[in-house]
Symmetry: D2
């Protein structure tokens, strides 16, 4: 199928990467085996905007095994693994992705996806869905010009109206799509994969929790023990990052929050809570995980100690005010891969990892396969569910029984058995008459 | 007011206990100050079935400060602190409670509460509400005879129909009340206080998590480091107990579950998961926290190692099959306060704490004041809410803004400041158009 | 045998306590079985100054089983368990101990022990040994008058010269005895039981670590989660207390130290380090574990927040300046057992647990039996070793093979198997020629 | 100076790496500043066999700043960072090192070092010192032929007799050198840098603890949460690895040991202990850290689950029986950098990281700079100490005050202040007379 990748010769290395991911994604592989038999996606085109990693490859191959034709574009300009992209292209996936795309190329890719007139969309941050909606609603935006460069002459309203449904992987993306729906502008139903327990309880917490530190250790080779770590945001991602900071021996783990209940949960979980402006002065390592903008602003950066390290684990590169930092810095140089030194007015130096983009995908390999196994099992089941059911417009959670099924398959794959309710217990727990 | 306690002479000691609790319950004290000014509960009678502890005393005095006449009866026969009961009686609360009530006395107390024709009920496990509903629906039950011994000639349908609403503190109680509602039999609205974040995230997890171990250490004086601990149930209570087991140095922390998503969460949280029948053979200490019946049954007990310790942290004393244990034991003796030794057929010995009743309330003092501060702040706000609003029949969560207000007050009392969203951030987080 | 206890009628309850301890001290019970057969202590009198607890009872009965006549006096005026003392008296141990002795009675007890002309001494803090040495060296001291009240007409030089050796349980005591030896004044050999790995690595760290918090939770019923905890001293005791503070969810665990290596270890273990004067302003709970004097002085106390809780886990009640506190306090009252409220000039209130004496022994039951099992196994083996070997004057560590034997017996009792070196491995590890 | 590196053009990148290390090694930089002024090493040649990393570069430049001429050779064939080697060569260091040396080249490098007739040696594993001693004692060995290929015609006895002393970095190396000394064959004094507290308490535990997992995550991209991790050996390195396994969420952390005291410490630290043959059947990830041979043997490997991952964190590649594995494997292929898949007879697959060599140096970057800062500060001070003092033959610990000085400098660099003993406290702690 039509595709565009960095270097097709990287395919053999990419295949080995995918092999390694497949070994570590037993749930998705069991689902693939079933989809391959049942072909529920036959005749459908899926346009997926996802991080092009070895785990995504396992998902995409699963969708293809289920009968779909798959278009794959990146959900982040810096996160593509070129060898994996090459391997997928060789296997007939419509990949349009390479590491280090510029803004124009990134939106060209969205044009490529839209021009294939998909039946289903898959999103990680909602860029594909949002771009299509803006075009369909006639909202102007510079990036859309890049989309239409490739998707020339496409009737976006028609494309959108053909789509049976989409899925969204992230907290951030779901917030955007709910906002879109709230304004009455959503054009097709969305399954918020992020809201499956087997997605957000695991991927966001344990996946990002570990891979964020993996990225920081690779980029900065810093000892975490003894450090003062500041985590902005105590959602599932922030919880995971803070827990691992503690597990790696940080001497203070400081959480910043805007939500009092989350702030209090952080306190009782054994972390310090304070405003960012105060944390800025004492932190050694700062990590943002809020989904919001300018969580670390220029004032904060100017307060930091010489040598402070900054990383972002939230979806977009706006959580740290990188633009501002670029503007005021006296000098900038790359010290190591993905580690840039900025000299501030006054002489202090701060270190930014991966340009403020998703640290775990830029400086490491994203989430380990074992955790993407469940997230992408939810994606595959969501695609199947959309193929088999006609939903009204809205943002949905995947049905609970599918969520539980993913957990059940995972436990089975890990060789872990659990108890079952006895009849007596089932009755007791659902009775109001039995008591003391 | 009319009351019945163990020994009025204990009042001075009880007052000091209450003083200590008040010092550690700043949120409830702030609410008390406001209620005292505003008197939203003036003219109302509150019948509260709660553990009669120093923390409950602070709640009850807060309701009284808000203008209510308060009847207080126990929610567990073994958890009353007699000095606190005496102090409350002296201050005009209608206490009917002493430690070690038998079954008849326990249900007499419910009769006492009902006979005062309350406007609001407060429950911890739903015994008061369920008894009243059974009586109103004409359902027979031996325990109800004990209720009517005291509530002679009461028209229970009338009593129930007068009630503006009730609150329920526990997971278990909420499950019972939802079941009641599902059958169409609920007679007045209920606020499920347990569903406030500032209740279940904190009280169930951190409160029970610590106080369960406090009770076990007092009763058995056992070293937790190096032990194999088995926790049945990975709800909020089980999560707290397992986390503290780890924090106290247990060498294996094993979780048993019936829910695959919770089981998987336990695994990723770093715990072992297996069926109880298997865990029974290797555990040193067993703690139930499921809200269900016979979670540790006779078969499990017979599999245990000589010296195994059993405790229950769930609401009722049915989680461990104590009845069965009593039946098969060759001998039984009390070794220390709240620690009974049972000799099993074959000669192994197991040790049961507090007769299988709530270990933290029987063998220790229940949750520390700091955490009850938030739970009871929710109770007080729920009472005020029911007084001010006329709800339809149903089971409700307290409005989110009241929940957040409790968190806000707690942070303030702890001297902790948090961030606020900037206008830019508020806009960004609720926009669908802004992205990469 | 001659004895003096609070109330002989408490013996039955004491026996059950001892039974419970025996069940949890398998190493000492195995040693007892052997000593009972071999009677290595036949004909010897052992004068033991130890905390009179159920665990000490198991040791004392083990020494008696080995043939010794045993005198038991307390090593702290507040730590005696009267039921255990009564049970021991009934079994023929020369107990002279009751809870709440005044200073005179405490030193009378030392006189009682000395007047029995012992062959071996056992000490916990070195009060017995030091008193005897002062008397033998003719050093005057008010407390010695109390000793000679009971030990009338005793020739202390002769008593000391008859003694084959003594043992010392604590870090503090060993420091005192080494100082005594350094001045050339030690009169008989001492085995520093504290220096056995199976003592200090376990008892000091895991025993005190847990029991300190047990005492604080009983006395103050405080929630540890969310608290700012300050631990003075990062020796084995401080390490254990800090680790458990973290395990119980404290949000900041601050260590104060005078030794830079220990301070740095605390930092890398994930704790904050700062001077006490600074920590004083932010702590919620303060625990001393240094073995030194006035580690928390009046200046520190005056800096504390209203509501601060103070406890001592070091050997003597001098670590917190209780004398100074008593002097400046505007008022003092006991709020709960072992919890005294002091009102400071200016109106702030601080709370002192157990008069600044060993919090785990005063407010809880001391170390759990499982950990005293190893400490007292070392004591029993040290007594046997002194009985069988004639040592020169000096302070000794118990031979390594006895230390390892205690560990081996403990693992065996726990049902834990370990690896053994193969011949190849033994050779490899001791060769200098084998390498890369 | 004479040197041999992979590619001199890598020097600029190497310099940036060294810059980054220098920023993170403040203690060593302070020592460098002093040595630069005082030139205590003027006129001396130092032959250093160390892992050629950016941190070693900072040490080597410090020695050069102190006046030494430095020869640098690798202490492991796979751990050299070629860019750093190039940078050092450019700065006049006698580097003879490149990544992936074969056995011959590795021993050639030792010949290169010896032929420069050093005054001091520095070792990491003792290969340099042991080779020189074998040659001086006339002991034959195939590897020595490779040494003499380069060190042609050298009088090894004369070389050894000129050396003022050497230092050794590792536990393993110190064991070898003590064995050498025990046989009476040691030819010059050695300072066992590993025995400084500021080395082994930190580097071995926190450095290897983190970097081992860094290496495993990079090589296998595995999620640690939920895994069963087996750590062989509970010395300082094993302690660190086990602690971080827990901190990263492993669901079982199993320790294997041959020493009962260490085994028991692992148990009380909250880990499981069992023999390797039993652990082999349940582990997901195995890490050796014993310093001994065939700790995981073929029998163990054949018992493992399909998918097991093996890594070595001990000094040499003999802890896992790689030779045996190579012999019996049906096939082998490299899946990812540093990750080899072996298919066992019967079809199971196991995955070996970095050929069983030091996982943190091969698959990651070795210890973070912050921790090497202290280890290498000890090295620099040891070199200075050997230059200034004439020691007799023996194996020595660095004087305590130098050890404490390193800690003091580190705390100062981290901005952490500690307490000092008051006069009263100093007196109290060293008195035997003061007590209860």
């Amino acid at each position: 199928m039509e595709h565009k990748v960095r270097d097709p010769a990287l395919a053999p290395r990419g295949k080995q990467q995918i092999y390694w991911a497949e070994r570590n994604m037993p749930v998705l592989m069991r689902i693939r085996a079933r989809l391959e038999r049942e072909k529920p996606l036959a005749g459908l085109t899926v346009a997926a905007s996802l991080h092009v990693t070895k785990e995504t490859a396992v998902l995409v191959k699963t969708l293809a095994a289920g009968g779909a034709q798959v278009i794959l574009i990146p959900s982040n300009p810096l996160s593509t693994q070129d060898d994996v992209a090459a391997a997928l292209a060789e296997e007939g996936i419509g990949v349009y992705a390479w590491r280090g795309m510029n803004e124009r190329e990134y939106y060209n890719a969205i044009g490529f996806a839209i021009s294939h007139n998909p039946d289903l969309t898959m999103d990680d941050g909602a860029d594909l869905t949002v771009s299509l909606h803006k075009l369909a609603h006639g909202i102007a935006d510079k990036t859309l010009d890049y989309v239409t460069e490739v998707a020339k002459g496409v009737d976006f309203v028609k494309v959108a109206s053909k789509i049976r449904g989409g899925t969204e992987e992230t907290t951030t993306g779901v917030i955007r799509l709910r906002a879109l729906h709230k304004e009455g502008k959503l054009l097709y139903p969305i399954i918020a994969v992020n809201e499956s327990y087997t997605k957000h309880l695991f991927d966001n917490r344990y996946g990002t929790g570990q891979s964020t530190w993996d990225g920081i250790m690779r980029a900065a080779n810093a000892l975490i023990a003894g450090k003062v770590v500041v985590v902005a945001g105590y959602g599932w991602v922030g919880k995971g990052i803070a827990a691992r900071a503690r597990g790696l021996g940080a001497r203070r783990v400081i959480v910043t929050e805007v939500n009092p209940i989350r702030a209090l949960e952080a306190v009782f979980d054994g972390f310090e809570v304070m405003p960012m402006s105060q944390a800025a002065e004492i932190g050694d390592v700062f990590i943002t995980a809020t989904g919001d903008i300018r969580v670390i602003d220029l004032d904060d950066i100017l307060r930091m100690k010489d040598g402070a390290i900054l990383a972002n684990a939230g979806h977009f590169n706006v959580e740290i005010d990188v633009e501002g930092l670029e503007r005021i810095a006296k000098s900038k140089r790359t010290i190591r891969p993905y580690l840039d030194e900025y000299e501030l007015p006054g002489g202090k130096r701060v270190y930014l990892i991966g340009e403020g983009r998703l640290v775990n995908l830029v400086a490491a390999e994203g989430h380990p396969s074992e955790v993407m196994d469940m997230s992408f099992a939810n994606q595959a089941l969501a695609a199947e569910y959309l193929a088999k059911n006609k939903l009204g417009i809205g943002v949905y959670k995947l049905p609970d029984e599918l969520d539980a099924e993913v957990a059940r398959l995972k436990l089975e794959a890990m060789g872990i058995k659990i108890d079952e309710l006895t009849e007596e217990q089932r009755k007791y727990i659902s009775s109001w008459e039995l008591g003391t």
